[in-house]
Amino acid sequence: MTATKPPVASLNETDEISEGAISVLRRGLVATPELKSGLRIVVIMGLLIAFGRLAIPVLIERSLSQGMTIVDAGMQGRESEVEVNIGLVVGLSLTALVLIVFSAVGTLFVQRRLVVQAERGIANLRQQAFVKVHELSIADHTETRRGVLVARVTSDAESLARFAQWGLYAWSIHPTVILGTFAVLAYYSWQIAAVVALSLAPVVPILKWLQRRQLEAYDNYRTSVGDMLTGFSEAVMGAAVVRAYGAESRTRDRLRSAIYNRYRARMRANTYMAGVFVVGDIFGALAFSMALIFGVRFREAWGLTSSELVACLFLIVLLNGPIAELGEVLDQTQTAIAGWRKILGLLDHQTDVLAPIAGLEIPSGAVEIQARGVGFSYRNSSPVLTKINITIPGGASVAIVGQTGSGKSTFATLLCRLADPTVGEVRLNGIDLRQASADSRHRSVRMVSQDGFLFDSTIRENVRFGRQGASDSDVQAAFDRLELGWWLEKLANGIDTEVGERGDNLSVGERQLVALARAALADPGLLILDEATSAVDPETDQALTTAIRNLAQGRTLVSIAHRLATAEAADLVLVFDQGLLVQQGSHSQLVDRPGIYRGLHQAWVGNTQADSYK
């Protein structure tokens, strides 16, 4: 069976913005159904709120047209006499008041509803994105900047949340308010409504154009932020190197230019923003003037009264509010859409390593490994492994050796399905790894890598991660089996020592000890050690070798090490060179035969034996 990998876009890519806001919205609603379920009620409430808002211009119009009658209009306003029907005005006002209060209650209800739905949706989206990140293959993790992945579940989601607190309400209510205003406008005079609509029409294409440019500007901005943060992270994480090599001024220059680039990108986005905000205002003034000119000129033809025209003008002023606020929230809307698109992009990213739908169980017990025609290459680069055929019997102790870059670590990666072979298949106890369920795979296979990453907690808690539900005594027992009690005793707080961020409070070798204890706690059928003791001193390493051999009783043990002591003790040695399995056999079989192994071994012996230089 050959599986060819689909071409996968890098997750770092940020420059592709072929997708508009509407399309993001459509895809986003599929990913977060919570948003959709709140939508209908919000639209209905929006209509009611719009009624409340429109109470004011209607009140003014009614008051002017029916409550106040101009008895004698003199040429100077002051001299005209106005008769006021106070009862009517007060009655109208109180009716308007009721509508306003009603509208306020409606606003309250809609806002709350929106916040709840949006927050639920965002929380869900964050969790989906988080799960997805852990589903990504190790190759994706290697290729993608860490900050980028973190941003998907933090700042990108944050931009959505900020939007949910304000912008979302504006977008849910104001379009309805604008439409409602037009409806009332049309009720007074459809001609005036048409004039206003025509005057405002250019706003839509102009805003669309600006919005597109702004979206681009925002994506550039986000990229520039990422670059700046990478620079800061290097200045912090590499603090020791920077000081040891006097690289301060160069690092400072790099960071300063990254800060400047971010500033430039941000200001470019802000320039569009300033434009976006005023488009509505300019055209609002234009619409007002047009309505005034046409209303005065065609007052008789269109059958207008003065109070109706005043009400119309007032309605046009009223349009400014929602349009301006939509402009104001456009900023965060853009950020939110850019963030949303990035999260959706992550969710849509094709995972290299797919979990089977109904996974098979790997039979328990020592694992027999079969590799059949296995080949592997990263993305489009040249193959790392070619045509590996090997059967490793259950319970064997196998050492994989080879030079740096020979493909030995990649082979180990395939055994625990951190990646799938590009061609061929890997079977554990007869089950194709691709068909095995994730749970079963985790139970059967345990890998300890060179990088002993620890979580910011105690040693005890870190080891406990090795097996679910492990008790304190189980954890202690894991150390005892590795005969590492002496090391714990050296620590001030023993097994309860806090390891710090990434385990930084411990030395590299000590972190590897904790990682080994974590493996010792589990009960896997296949234990893979990838340079797992590279930073441990020789004496401890030798003691561990014995302990690990005891631990591996009844299991298959695959060790990768450049310390060939491991190979000397193994049942089977596999020698890799340039992606090929070039030699296999026991140490004693290989050591005297001409070949790569003999060369490696001689170098190793030279390294370990004092008298070789004399």
Partner: protein, 587 residues
């Protein structure tokens, strides 16, 4: 009352913060405020124009067929010019407010860079990296958030002033009734800020928690995968996310309540104005157009008043963020060394005298350590895992000062050497090789002052030239973040080349070839031997490396257990067990 006092002090600290920020870039801020003032003036003026148009154009035309004192053309002209001026005000305010806030951010970040690069390594070791990154990212952003709505809010002050004037000009009794809305709005805004402060701070804390979990979890992606902990991690993240969600919903509820009230208040004002206005019109004191003017003034006031509330809302988080930044910015930088002591030519002598060191409150890692190295000598430091070998390497490089005791290099105490001099004299290759996300050339030549040939030569000695040549872009190949695109052995060789490039007179190798396979290590060691015209201190595990040394310093329990030639030390059982473990196992 306690809350009130606390709130006031937040506002006072907010004022200080605003002052400090603006002092950095006063000109763009001033322009922005002018823009806001123009906006406010034109907003009020526009309502006056609307009222006049009603009285002078609309009503007369409908009643008599002729306009009053304003012609239609003048009305349109007045309206459009006021509107365009207002627009200009908006553009100026927005652009320059952003410019102010962005420039302040850049200034803060520049200062952070100076602190991060200037503060001693011991400070970095005590401070979590995540915190320092948050300072440069979110904290800086939040600390300047207050600057965005500030010019608009100052504009609102003008707006209130102009509105009051225009109202009083219309009719005093009507003005008194109408103006009552401002203190009401101010009062409500005040309650709002007080109510939302704590829940909003809780949200910020939750945002931090979520980021911490994500950072850690993604950092350990490989371990999460191999342990099959993805589900457990998702749960851990999920509970942080759910807490954030619930806190946000709470803030949203409070905001929704106040927003609804603040939103409807101007409308209620209009209703009141209409009722009172009806009496005043009836009395002949007010014209209908003036009533329209007052009513429309209220309708344009609603949004700016909310911006003012938004400004008050940003004050407490900005103050808190600024406090966090200040913790770093106020740290005094170590004074730069003006005169660096002179060091004689040739390989450097090293003298470590009674040096002790401990991390924080824990038991000392090094306890009264004394030894010396002659110029040109090669000395290996041997000890078990966690015995303080790396710490000793850092101390001798001068990266971290000892708690007590002195270290002399070339007969000069380390603290009398400037950082530049130390860098030039001493080359340290770290146990964990840190690479920058840049080209290989950049990573080898960190100061950017060496020639192509020198880089090539250093790479050749470090056995890095061969694999670099195989890369399509050679030394211009860009390595991933922290060098992830290279193997561990390749990273170590690049780091070694970096140290050799500056031709140090004291080279310190901290287990610097641990990830290099045996054959390559032998290549490196032999080329080092032929290049050794310097003093060399090697932290080592392998016997081959140890035999390269003239002398061995054996560390045990933080003290020097023994020092001398490898062959002589082999008589000590503890030493023999440690270094010959593999040899013994092979027999």
């Amino acid at each position: 009352m306690g809350v009130r006092v606390a709130n006031e002090s937040v506002l006072r600290r907010g004022a200080t913060l605003v002052y400090e920020h603006i002092r950095l870039h006063p000109v763009p801020f001033a322009i922005s405020v002018v823009g806001a003032g123009v906006f406010a003036g034109c907003t009020v003026l526009a309502t006056v124009v609307l009222g006049r148009i009603t009285d002078e154009v609309v009503i007369p035309v409908f009643e008599t067929g002729q306009t009053g004192s304003w012609s239609l053309r003048f009305a349109v002209f007045a309206l459009l010019s006021v509107s365009l001026l207002r627009v200009a005000g908006v553009v100026i305010r927005r652009y320059f407010a952003a410019l102010t806030s962005e420039r302040v951010q850049s200034s803060i970040r520049h200062r952070l860079v100076d602190q991060y690069l200037g503060l001693p390594l011991s400070w970095h070791q005590e401070t979590p990296a995540g915190k320092l990154l948050a300072h440069a990212d979110n904290d800086t952003e939040v600390a300047t958030d207050v600057l965005h709505p500030l010019p608009f809010s100052l504009g609102v002050v003008f707006l209130v002033l102009f509105s009051a004037i225009s109202l009083i000009l219309v009719d005093l009794p009507l003005a008194i009734v109408a103006l009552a809305i401002f203190p009401t709005l101010a009062f409500l805004n005040r309650i709002y800020t007080t109510t939302i402060e704590k829940p909003a701070a809780a949200v910020q804390a939750s945002v931090g928690d979520v980021a911490t979990v994500a950072h850690e979890s993604f950092d350990g992606a490989l371990v999460v995968k191999t342990l099959g902990r993805a589900k457990a991690e998702a749960q851990r993240f999920g509970s942080a996310v759910e807490e954030l969600r619930d806190r946000r919903i709470r803030v949203g509820y409070i905001r929704a309540t106040f927003e609804a009230i603040l939103d409807s208040l101007p409308n209620i004002g209009i209703v009141v104005v209409m009722i009172v206005g009806a009496y005043r019109v009836d009395a002949g004191a007010v014209r209908p157009g003036e009533l329209v003017q007052v009513a429309s003034l209220f309708s344009v006031l609603a949004f700016p008043m909310r911006v003012f509330g938004y400004f008050l809302e940003t004050v407490p988080p900005s103050v808190v963020a600024k406090d966090r930044l200040q913790g770093v910015l106020d740290k005094p930088l170590p004074p730069a060394m003006v005169h660096s002591a002179e060091v004689a030519d040739g390989p450097l002598e090293v003298e470590v005298r009674n040096v002790s060191f401990s991390y924080g409150e824990t038991a000392p890692v090094l306890d009264d350590v004394t030894f010396s190295i002659k110029g040109g000598e090669v000395v290996a430091i041997i000890g078990s895992t966690g015995e303080g070998k790396s710490t000793l390497a850092h101390l001798v490089t001068g990266l971290v000062p000892p708690d007590s005791g002195t270290i002399l290099v070339g007969r000069v105490p380390l603290d009398e050497l400037s950082a530049e001099a130390r860098t030039e004299l001493i080359g340290l290759v770290f146990q964990e090789s840190f690479l920058f996300a840049d080209t290989l050339r950049f990573n080898i030549d960190l100061q950017g002052t060496h020639s192509e040939n020198e880089v090539l030569k250093a790479a050749r000695i470090a056995s890095a030239a061969a694999f670099v040549d195989e890369m399509p872009k050679g030394f211009d190949t860009i390595v991933g973040e922290r060098g992830v695109t290279l193997s561990g052995g390749q990273r170590q060789r690049v780091a070694l080349a970096r140290a050799l490039l500056q031709r140090p007179r004291l080279l310190i190798l901290d287990d610097a070839t641990s990830a290099v396979d045996a054959k390559v290590e032998q290549e490196i060691l032999s080329s080092l031997r032929s290049e050794l015209d310097m003093t060399t201190l090697i932290v080592a595990q392998r016997v081959s490396t140890i035999t390269l040394a003239d002398r061995v310093v054996f560390l045990r329990d933080g003290k020097i257990a023994a020092a001398g030639r490898h062959e002589d030390l082999l008589h000590l059982p503890a030493y023999r067990d440690l270094v010959t473990a593999y040899e013994e196992a092979a027999k």
